[in-house]
Amino acid sequence: MTAFVVRRLLLAIPTVLGVTILTFALLHLAPGGPVLALAGERATPAQIAQITHELGLDKPWPQQYGAWLAALAHGDLGYSYVRQRPVLTLIAERLPQTVLLMGCALIVSIACAVPLGVYQAYRRNQGFDRAASVFVFIAWSMPTFWFGTLLIAFFAVNLKWLPVGGLQTLDTLAFDWPSRIAHLVLPAATLAIVSLAAWSRYIRGSMIEQLREDYTRTAVAKGLPMRTVLFRHTLRNALIPFITLLGGTVPALFGGAVITEQIFAYPGMGQLFWQSAVDRDYSTLLGMTLITAVLVIAGNLLADALYAVVDPRVQVS
């Protein structure tokens, strides 16, 4: 097990380096850049040249990459010239908000997908299963921001039950739990719809497989109530491969967060990424891509390791 984790960690290093090289190259191919954003539209070519030189942006990009990497080794993710703040501080402010949002979305979608998938598998090919399949396909095909807009239209504008957007009410600067939770409901529901469909279908399929196994037949034959068989026996086995799926969902959640945070004016990583792309704030984009890639790889590794822990039949090598 330790050998497996160590090997995977070693393999992760070239992947992360690859991500940074790719991002660095892409950013340097792009026209414009932070200099134009910093100097303003009325800057003379001489001023632009001077700023470019001061920032070291006139050096060839492999040399700049080397400097960036050396700074990274000292825990320095660079400095956002557009926002006039260190990139690490910017990310540290935003990341917890996004992780909170993604966590809530995960809970919502697991809480919906598991019972739905189990009941669909139990009653498969019957009315409920068919209706639920259609519903799940509709959820899958929904443009995220349209769904978010409809939620706002109904729950925030018409019923006025929940706030339209933001992190919490602006009445107080202090941390306000009830208000924070109220502000999380609609964004979490919007983000959850992305994974709900895939997961409930996966659990349905995996449950159907488990229901055909001999141990299920034995459990039913010895007279256990169907609820016990479904939730104590089959679901436990059906959930094992699901762990891998959970680990692989991190990129989709970050992608979904860009849209969701934009709809609900939620100050998280997605919003920061979007604003940085518009402002051509390259150092922030680079730092964010790096942190996201590390989280994605960590998610996959954690899922694979957990898979082996939960299921003793799996041999990691």
């Binding site: 139990y122 095909s141 443009p143 409809l150």
Partner: protein, 291 residues
């Protein structure tokens, strides 16, 4: 739950899953929706002489009526015509982007699967790197770079969504290349290129066709997401994405005719494509699989 239902349900649970899971009704419905939508977007603008770009501020936010079938938007433009013209753009963007993705993905996956060895390892490491970055990040960045050009938009969406098809085609070719007909082809002197593209890829057609269907659906969703973020199809050219993206501001004008029709157009079309893809996937094993 009575004992009888439990016993019945248990028995049901053990019967092999050979019966068709869904009636073919929904597949037929999906095909019908797609044909009608494509035909309407392609043909109706020739018959109906309404300018999709003509603004008229005195008729802003007109509700649906005899003159404007689906009402007008905030600049007084005819929503029905904009929906049709926008449909043309979105459908073409979806189809071309999917084809680009499938082309890259099929060639890439075929090379990995056929040659294996160090080439496969190296190429799949690149895929791993790309998979570590959320697709939307790449998409957003590239789209912001080439903003305003519909052709570039299609290429950007295509260029960021070939990873999944590449992995699927690779997996398919890993097993297909062991077949006897490959050996036979090699025996009569066929080269690698001929074996890959004339024998192996056509035999993976089931996977390729199914994946293409899903790809068109996801490319259309990508168009709407980018248009919502303001870097998709540039105004005043309509697309389902940018018609929808103004929905949030139309919300406060209570203009439901601007929020619902483009939403249902895209939802219906994407849903139809997904249903069709799912049906194809279920049937591909029987119709294409063991050739």
């Amino acid at each position: 739950m009575s004992e009888a239902t439990v016993a019945f349900a248990a028995e049901e649970a053990f019967t092999p899953n050979t019966v068709r899971r869904r009636p073919s009704g929904i597949t037929a419905l999906s095909l019908g929706w797609l044909m009608i939508t494509v035909a309407a977007c392609a043909l109706v603008p020739f018959v109906l002489h309404v300018d999709a770009y003509a603004t008229n501020v005195t008729h802003a936010y007109d509700p649906p009526g005899a003159v404007h079938w689906l009402g007008t938007d905030g600049l007084g433009r005819d929503e029905f015509m904009r929906l049709l013209i926008g449909g043309r753009i979105t459908l073409v963007v979806g189809a071309v982007a999917a084809l680009v993705a499938m082309l890259i993905g099929t060639v890439y996956g075929a090379l990995c699967g056929y040659y294996g060895g160090w080439l496969d390892t190296a190429l799949m490491r690149i895929v791993d790197v790309l998979l570590s970055v959320p697709t939307l990040f790449l998409l957003l960045f590239l789209a912001a770079m080439f903003h305003g050009n519909v052709v570039a938009l299609m290429l950007v969406i295509g260029a960021t969504s070939w990873l999944q098809p590449a992995r699927l085609v690779r997996g398919e070719l890993l097993t297909l290349k062991e077949r006897v007909y490959v050996e036979a082809a090699r025996a009569v002197g066929a080269g690698d290129r001929r074996i890959i593209f004339m024998h192996l890829v056509p035999n993976a057609a089931g996977t390729v066709i199914t994946t293409t269907t899903f790809m068109v659906a996801s490319a259309m969703l990508a168009e709407t997401a980018l248009s919502y973020l303001g870097i998709g199809v540039r105004a005043p050219t309509p697309s389902w994405g940018n018609l929808l993206s103004s929905a949030q501001s139309d919300l406060f004008a209570q203009a439901y005719w601007l929020i619902l029709p483009p939403g249902f157009a895209i939802l219906g079309t994407v849903c139809a494509l997904n249903f069709l893809g799912d049906w194809l996937r279920e049937h591909e094993a029987r119709s294409f699989g063991d050739a």
